[in-house]
Amino acid sequence: MEPKPLHPGIRKAWLTLALPPAAFAGLAAIQLTRPLDMPIGFGVVVAVALLALAVGVPNRLYKRWRYAIRDRDVYTSRGAIWHLETLIPFDRIQFVESRQGPLDRMYGLTQVLIYTAAGRAGRIPGLDSATAESLREELSTIAGAPSV
């Protein structure tokens, strides 16, 4: 299987997570320029940079996130600034779990989590519920492990 991207809805979910704190920190930076006796433009530059990061990082994360169920293992590749590739052999999978947080529910998404004896080995976020369910079942069947 060729590496697949995540559901586009995850970008909105990540933006929802990143924008409010960035906006708050940006406003704080503008406000702080007065007591620190600094030009207000400095605060504006910081605020714009923070907002750019809050928009840019989720977009870059989405573009770089890939997952693949290959012949003998699960492969994921991700990272906006630090790049991380994970490889989980089927034989080592202990159990597979699907999970939906409040933000996932808001955007109709589901996460799939894969565990080995060493702990949580991988998390594939931003899947539509049907894909997540079938992926969970597929991995559980391949690995011979019961799904949760």
Binding site: H83, E85, R92, A117, A118
Partner: protein, 489 residues
Amino acid sequence: MPEPQASEPPPDQPTDTQVTAPETPKQLHAAAVPIWLMYDAGRFFFALIPAILLGGIQPALLVAVPFIVGASVVRFRRFHYQLTSGTLMVEGGLINRWRRVIPRERVQSVDVVEKLRHRAFGVVEVRVEAIGAQETEAALVALSREEAERIKGWASGGGPVAAGVEGDAERHHPVLARLTPTGLVLAGITGGRVAVLAVLLGYAQEFLGEQTLQQARSLVQDLMPSTSLVAGAAILVAALILTSLVLSVIATVLVHWDFTLILEDDRLVITRGLLERRRAQIPLRRIQAVEIHENLLRKVLGLASLTVVVAGYNQEGQHNDRTNVLLPIGRRKTTWSIAAQVLRARSEIDTIALEPRPRRALSKNLVLLTLPLGVAGTIATLLGGAPGAFVFLLLPLGWVALYLGFKVAGHGINDECVIVRGGVVVTTTSIVPMANLQHLQMSWSALQERYGLATIRVHIPRSAPRARDMDKKQAAQWFKQLGAASAEI
């Protein structure tokens, strides 16, 4: 309720370690009552402090003593254990009753502990550790030695064990390591505690305050009036280091006295301790990795220590204590030889050539250290003047540490295991059998990418050794090779 006959097997029970049929639930040795009393006395004392403050010690004791004694007796009467061919059942509880069934295949290790309180009653404590448990799964606080050996025999699959007598085990099985008194002293002196104290001394001024230091100074001057201030300070530091040396040696002697590591068929048996005798048993199949540790002093002397990573092993609830000492100190060659035997390596793992990191890894780390410190130093100097320039003094120290770290780091692989080495103050060499790899990670930062580097992390239960700053192409090759190998095993 069965009578308290736990330590003596009933006459109709087989006397060897083979459990052929379910036995009736047994109680612990009657010494469990005073031993639990001793465990609980300290805890109850703290609980009694408010009562003592309010009503005096006598009324508090009048209430507490019968309560503690009664609780221990009830606890003893309700505590039972039962061995079947495949499980160990333990039940008990003072207020809430509980029952736990531990399948034999989940048993990670069986430790026999003999504290002073056990010696007083001629019994031992057996602790059964299981995979995935967050605490000791079954603590049988008072058993006869014979019963303890019977449980150990059951845990190892009912095979024959040297019942009850440690000496027998040594006669029949190879002793992998034994620590002499000289070795113990050497382990204490070179163990690193002294170095820690020396570092702490540097911060003593911060914590002790001027007055305390003044008093120490006066004390030295009173004792040796003719000495100068500098000589006095040197004597004080030397005295503290000497004290810490003595304390370190005493601690090592108490913990590792008569340390013996025996390979009994398919398990390791570790015996150690002066006041508290411990006998730990670790099945070889539970071993996830071994680690060889060398601090700066030991490296110079050609010495090292050896620990083992065992999944699910807890030491008195210290969950972060992932490893067990297999050899507190020994020649480097000896530690490698024991590591090979413990891992049952077919190949000679000590001959696996460890590849150093590429030189550009050093360049990358120099940039990573120098740039932020340089910027911080410049800002500090601009804002704070000359004292701010102190930051620049840290740079040479950092460069030396980076260079030393670069020189010792290495990684190697063959078809059996992965070896990763790193660390400046304490160099740790992790040897992970390929069969234990669970999952793999390869990562790189923007700076690593610029220098063509990547890091590989191999995840095993309870540990995740990593080979940092490898050549990126080689890392990708490892990632592929390790992934294929772990999927095949």
